[in-house]
Symmetry: C2
Subunit: 346 residues, 2 copies
């Protein structure tokens, strides 16, 4: 049975434009909160294939999206490379021993061994695929090497990225060594996700905008493209979505290129601009401002505007960033319904 979401990613005709939401398996859903409370910590939930599969499937059933996205966290990768990940309440992720030197990096587990430790992710994928309807797609994902490296170097989230950027300007070799080691793990990790059953890959470069445009290709995009090239050579039928957040200036400067299928447009980048610059080469995904979900009227206004710009082809509806925890579920349902309504053909 053909999956409308996969077809849309590959630029094929579909009866309507599919839709999903970043962070759709999340705290705005009471059903998620229930499973989350049973699981223990956030990381416990990531490690529990049965429960992770359950929350992955919830938004498909409850909100009616066309694709599920694997419930996990980008930071399980450095965690299984041997960095000690924890989530401190109200403070976010922490690594107790950030990378400061080549010796620190050399101590980390790399390649096949690190990718092999992420068994709970592959088990989760297999469980989801047993239960997901045939016409719905499952999206697997990873963080971009740059985004992962920011946490590995800073030891936590950061406003200024000053530790990794000090490294960028004073010790670029070490930063490249970190990025290369992470890239190797990510390639094998995504390959194992595909072998476990995911239908589509999304690469999140959440902190793309932390790099100045003249350095973005060198320190992030080329590693993302290396991953895409590796996967496309082996699995040409699996669509790849690139989502670098906050980079209209990079689009303007022609820094978006390479072998992938879908470009994820963040909400700060006008869709008409993205279409003009990238629409011929890539299917575009996005890009409603997530806070519009607080209002049904503001949601409909944006969905209609996106439909006007994109028409019913080479487009996937989505938010331009993750759905927020205090959005009413009925507004999320309204968004999905409106996307289907405005784009349905005939």
């Amino acid at each position: 049975m053909s999956k409308i979401f996969v077809d849309a990613c590959l630029g094929k005709e579909t009866p309507y434009t599919p839709v999903w939401m970043m962070r759709q398996a999340g705290r705005y859903l009471p059903e998620y909160m229930k499973v989350r409370a049973e699981a223990g910590s956030f990381l416990d939930l990531c490690h529990d294939p049965e429960k992770a599969a359950e929350v992955t499937l919830q938004p498909v059933d409850i909100v009616g999206v066309d694709a599920a996205i694997l419930f996990s966290d980008i930071l399980v990768i450095p965690d299984e490379m041997g960095m000690d990940l924890s989530f401190v309440k109200g403070e976010g992720p922490k690594f107790s021993d950030p990378i400061t030197s080549q010796e620190d990096l050399d101590r980390l587990i790399g390649g096949e061994e690190a990718a092999g430790r992420l068994t709970y992710v592959y088990d989760t994928i297999k469980l989801i695929k047993e239960r997901l309807a045939d016409d719905k797609a499952l999206i697997g994902f990873t963080g971009a090497p740059w985004t992962l490296a920011t946490y590995m170097i800073e030891g936590q989230g950061t406003k200024t990225y000053n530790i990794c950027k000090k490294m960028m300007y004073t010790n670029p070799e070490l930063l490249h060594n970190i990025l290369a080691k992470v890239t190797e793990v990510v390639k094998l990790y995504m390959e194992k996700q595909i072998e476990s059953g995911i239908d589509v890959v999304q690469i999140f470069d959440s902190w793309a905008a932390a790099i100045e445009p003249s350095k973005y290709d060198e320190f992030s995009w080329k590693y993302m493209i290396e991953i895409a090239d590796y996967l496309k050579a082996k699995y040409p039928h699996i669509p790849i979505i690139m989502f670098p957040k906050g980079i209209p200036a990079f689009i303007e400067r022609g820094l978006v290129y390479g072998n992938f299928d879908v470009f994820g447009v963040d909400w700060g980048t006008p869709m008409a601009f993205a279409k003009e610059k990238l629409g011929d080469k890539y299917v575009l995904q996005g890009n409603m401002e997530p806070c519009r979900l607080y209002s049904k009227e503001a949601t409909t206004e944006c969905v209609e505007a996106l439909q006007e710009i994109m028409g019913s082809k080479r487009h996937i509806f989505n938010l331009g960033h993750g759905i927020l925890p205090d959005v009413p579920v009925e507004n999320a349902k309204h968004f999905v319904k409106e996307c289907h309504r405005v784009s349905r053909k005939g």
Copy 2:
């Protein structure tokens, strides 16, 4: 005596391109840390004209910049409107009673009364002007109404701006009422800064990028332009610098217009792009990535690249955001020296 910085803002010929740095009076300077420790809290320092004047002048003497910028904080405005500002160590600014309704807003002090309470700022300006060399300029500043409103509504800094954006999409009237009341105070506040002796005005819209492009004009830029129009009508000889951070997409969409002199380019916006789109209308200020200051080589590379793009006219060197606390002072001096070296004529 003519001030090279003021001349450059007005697009006149200057013997070299002037330079200053956002947050140049700040924690990277041991001399600042000494005065800060003597003053007590950060807010105590803002309230002490003698000490605020002293730290304002330090970077002119120590680093050699061409303009001083008033030492103060954008949040003294809502503080004097009757919101109770405090700075919690490690957490940043807090207002104990954020605005949630028209009644909350009506309780705040507005217009002339609020502007009249900021006497410590005007006294600081007078002290600085007594001591500043005649060929150096003093920049006064304010936060943009939108940026100020984010703190007044959220009660603190925010990653998602979800409370103010919920207001934007569900109760835009209230948000506009807040913005209008703040705009009135800012107009009078900047007028009093000018009457006290500042040579140039900078308006910081630090959180410009929190608004989606299609809403930016309505909720921020038009209020900034209202302030600029008011000041330009009364003080046409005082240059105005607009610095909305993070908005290459807005530049692309033609959302930058109006009666001001200098456009501040953040480091995420390529200078060549800003020049192409705005260089004929506005003098451009910026835009070295502040983290380049960790390396003298990376600093020189960027200064030379900016000189290559801009030439020695209609440009002011600056960082694309504030200098970070752990930058070596000698690197800041190197930056200033290099800007003067590459741009000096004849």
